[in-house]
Amino acid sequence: MNNFLEMRKITKQFNDNVVLDQVDFCAGKGQVHALIGENGAGKSTLMKILAGLHMPDSGDILIEGSKVAINSPKQAQELGIAMIYQEIRLFPDLNITENVYIRREPMKNPRWCKLIDWEKAYEDTQKYLDYFGLKLNPRRPVNTLGMGQQKFVEIIKAVSQNANIIIMDEPTAALTDHEIDILFKVIGDLKKLGVTIIYISHRLEEIKRIADQVTVIRDGKVIQSCSIDEVDINGIIKAMAGKELEDRYPKLKVKLGKEQLRVEGLSYGGKLKDISFSIKKGEILGITGLSGSGRRTLTKVLCGFEGPYEGSLYINGKLFKSITPHMAKLNGLCFVTGIGTSEGLITNAPIQENVTITNMERVSKLGFIERTTEAEAAKDLIERLEIMASENEIVNNLSGGNQKKVIFAKWLFANAKILFIEEPTAGIDIGSKVDIYNIINELVTSGASVVMISSDLSEIVGMCDRVMVMYNGEARGIFNKGEVSQEDILYYASGGRG
C-alpha cells in the first residue's frame, strides 16, 4: 500500500515513563485511519508529536516518502497537518470568518498596508460553509453556535489551511447523533478531496461506520493495525483493554423511593418553555436532545447558576420560587459538569483539595482545616472510586477518566442527593466508562437520584429508568425504559411530534 504519511519507530519518554515505544503508524491518502486505545495508551502523545507539540526522542516521520522534521506547531501547519482538539479552541467573541482566518487573514494590495481583505475572507468562508452544506452566516459570532457547529468551524479552519492530514481527537464527544451524521458526511467529502484523516475515538460503532484502517495502541505499543473489514468490535475491545467486557451498561434494578424533585411549568427567558418532570429516590432520569435544545440551560437553572425562572421547583416536597447555587447545594442538588477542566476542577490543586472543596466544613473545626482528616477523607474516596493516584497528586497530571472520577468524588463528599450529571462518559475509555456507570449505580442504590444529561443515546437507553427528550427548550416527551428506541429518541430530539 502506498502510504502518504509514515511514522517510523517513534519513541517518547516523559521523565522515566516510556509513553511510546517504537511505534509505527502509517496512513494512506484519502483514508480515514482510526486510532484507538484506552486513556493513557499513548495515542494523544503520538498525535501531538505529529502536530509538532512534542518532539520524539527517536524515530522518523515521512510524508510522501520523504523525511520531514516537525519541531513546532507552525512547521506542522506548513506541512499541511492540522489537529482538531477534543476541547474546542475558538475565540468565542469573534465570528466564524475571523476564527477561520485568524493569523493568516487575506491582505489587500499593496500588502505592506496590512489591511485585511474581509470581502474575500467572508466570501471564501461562505464557500466552505456551502460546500459542507451548513446553513450559517459567516458573520455569526462563534459563541452563538452550538457545540457541533463550532466543531465544523474548526474543521473548516483546518481545511482552509490546505491541510492534507487532519487529526480529529474525539470529534463526536460533544455532538448529537444528528450532528455526527453531518460530521461523517463532511469526512466523506474530505476523503474525496484526498485528505487523510486520523480519527481518535472511543466510540467503536462510529469507527466501524467510517474508518478504513484501524490501529490499536496499548501501553505505548501498537497491538494491532489492520483494515476495518478484518476486525470485529469485541476483538477491538479485547485488544484495547486486554480483557473482555461482560456488560457495557451494568444497569441495576433499584427499588424507587419517594419523590425527591418535582419541576412544574418551568420557563426561563425564552430558552426553556413549560417544562415539568419529577424524579424519585433511586431513579436515573435521562435528559437528551440536540446541542442547543436547552438541556444544559435547564440544569443550570435548577442548580441556581442561571435565573430567575418562572414556575415551581419542589425539592423533597419543599417549594422553591428561586434558587442560588448555595441553596441548591444545601438541599442536596449538584451539577456534575461535563466540562471538567474549566468548570469542575481546580486543576493545579491536589486531588485532596478538589474533593473537599464542596463541603470543607466536614473536615474543619471553627473554620480551620484539619489536613490529616482531609487527607483521610480524600483517601477513602480515592479508594472507593478507584482513582489511580495519591491524594496529593495535582489534578492536572491525571488522565481524563481519573479527573472525571475526582469530580464525582467531590460531590460524593458533599453528600449530594440529586445529581445532575452532564455527559458522564464523554471522551473517556470503555474501561473507565463502566467504572463511572458503577459509581452511578452505587449512588442510586444508596438513595440518591440521578439526572443524566447525555447525547450518547446508547448510554441513555442503557442506563436510564426514564428519558426526557428536549427540543428547542421544550420537553417533547418522557418515556419509560424499554418503551423507546434510540431512533425514536432521535425523532423527537429533531423536532418530531408523537
Binding site: 526522542d57 447555587p325 447545594k329 474549566s342 490543586a349 472543596i357 464542596t358 482545616i369
Partner: protein, 333 residues
C-alpha cells in the same frame, strides 16, 4: 510502582522547598542588610533598626488584605484614598467634639464601608473589572475627603493618641506589635482556614469554584471589606505619627502596597503566593529605604531600585522556566 512515585515526590518537594521565592527574598533581605552595614556604620544598631520599622509599617497593614485581593486575581487601587477619607473623617469629627475613642471607631467604620462598597460594586456589576471600579472609587473617596476638609490640615489630637505611632511596649514599637498580631491573624486566615482555601480556589478557577457551590460573591465582598478596614487601620497609625491629617495623605500608597505584594511572589494572575513572601518584602523595601536614607541617597534613586526589583520579581519565575525548556532542548538534540 506507586510507592516509588511517592518517595520521588517527597525528595522533589524538599528540593523545591529551598527554591521557593520566599527564600530568594530572605536571601535578598540578608544581602541588603550586609550592603547597608558596609555603607553606613550607623546601620547595624538594633534599637535604630526597630525604630526604622515605625516609619514604614503604616502601609504594611494594607499589604495583608491586598495579598487576598491579588490572589483572587483582582486589584484594589482605592486603598490610599480610603486611608485619606477615613483619616479626614476621624480628624473632622474629633474637632467637632466627638470623643477620640469614638472618632477612632468612626474611622474604622468609614474604611470598612469604603471597602464594602468596592466589593459590592464589583460583584453587582460583573461587566466592570475591579481595576475600573476601584479607579472610580479612588477618585470619589479622595474627592469626598477634599470636600470635607478642603485643602487644609486637621489635627490637635489628644496626647495619648500619639502612642499609636510613637509608643513602645517593652522597648518594641507598638506599631510593630500590632502589625505582628495582624500578620499572624491574616496568615492563619489565608493558609489554615476554609476561607483562605476558598480564596485560593477562586483565584485559580472562579467558574469551577462557583460550580462547587462556593459563594464567590460573598467571599469577594468580605475580602474587599477587609481591605477597607485595614486601610482605616493604616489611617489611624499614619495620622498618629504625623500628628494631623490632610486630604492628600497617603498618596501613592496603593502602588507601594501592590509593589510589596507582587515582590512577595503573589502572582497577579491569581491563585498563587504566600503571605510570608509579602511580609518579607515589606521589611526588605523598608530597610532598603532606611539604609539608603542614612547615606542620603535621594528618594528618586530609591524608586528606581524598587522598580528594578519588581521587574526582577516578575521575571525570575519566567527565567527559570525558559532555562528548563532550554535544558530540555539541549538534551533531545
Amino acid at each position: 510502582m506507586k510507592e516509588k512515585n511517592i518517595i520521588a515526590k517527597k525528595e522533589f518537594n524538599l528540593k523545591s522547598f529551598f527554591f521557593q521565592w520566599e527564600w530568594m527574598l530572605v536571601l535578598l533581605f540578608v544581602v541588603i542588610n550586609i550592603i547597608n552595614t558596609f555603607l553606613s556604620p550607623y546601620y547595624l544598631d538594633p534599637k535604630k533598626l526597630l525604630d526604622a520599622t515605625m516609619t514604614f509599617l503604616d502601609k504594611a497593614f494594607i499589604v495583608l488584605p491586598m495579598v487576598f485581593v491579588i490572589i483572587l486575581a483582582d486589584i484594589d487601587i482605592s486603598v490610599a484614598s480610603t486611608v485619606a477619607l477615613s483619616a479626614v473623617v476621624m480628624a473632622v469629627s474629633y474637632n467637632l467634639g466627638v470623643p477620640m475613642a469614638l472618632a477612632i471607631i468612626i474611622c474604622l467604620l468609614v474604611g470598612t464601608l469604603c471597602g464594602f462598597l468596592n466589593g459590592l460594586l464589583i460583584v453587582k456589576f460583573k461587566e466592570l473589572s475591579a481595576v475600573i471600579v476601584t479607579l472610580s472609587t479612588m477618585i470619589i473617596y479622595r474627592g469626598i475627603a477634599y470636600i470635607i476638609l478642603e485643602d487644609q490640615a486637621s489635627g490637635k489630637f489628644p496626647a495619648w493618641y500619639k502612642f499609636l505611632g510613637w509608643g513602645y511596649v517593652g522597648g518594641i514599637p507598638f506599631i510593630l506589635i500590632v502589625f505582628a498580631v495582624f500578620a499572624v491573624v491574616f496568615g492563619l486566615l489565608l493558609h489554615k482556614t476554609t476561607f483562605g482555601r476558598r480564596v485560593y480556589a477562586m483565584g485559580n478557577n472562579i467558574t469551577a469554584s462557583r460550580f462547587s457551590g462556593i459563594q464567590v460573591d460573598k467571599i469577594k465582598v468580605i475580602v474587599f471589606t477587609l481591605t477597607g478596614f485595614m486601610s482605616a487601620v493604616t489611617a489611624l497609625f499614619l495620622t498618629s505619627r504625623m500628628g494631623s491629617t490632610r486630604p492628600n495623605v497617603a498618596s501613592g500608597y496603593e502602588l507601594d502596597v501592590i509593589a510589596m505584594v507582587v515582590l512577595g511572589g503573589i502572582s497577579s494572575t491569581g491563585g498563587k503566593g504566600k503571605l510570608t513572601g509579602a511580609i518579607i518584602s515589606i521589611f526588605l523595601i523598608g530597610f532598603l529605604r532606611y539604609g539608603l536614607g542614612l547615606k542620603n541617597v535621594p528618594a528618586q534613586a530609591l524608586l528606581i531600585i524598587i522598580g528594578l526589583l519588581l521587574i526582577f520579581a516578575v521575571m525570575i519565575p519566567n527565567l527559570k522556566f525558559n532555562f528548563k525548556k532550554w535544558g530540555k532542548v539541549q538534551k533531545t538534540s
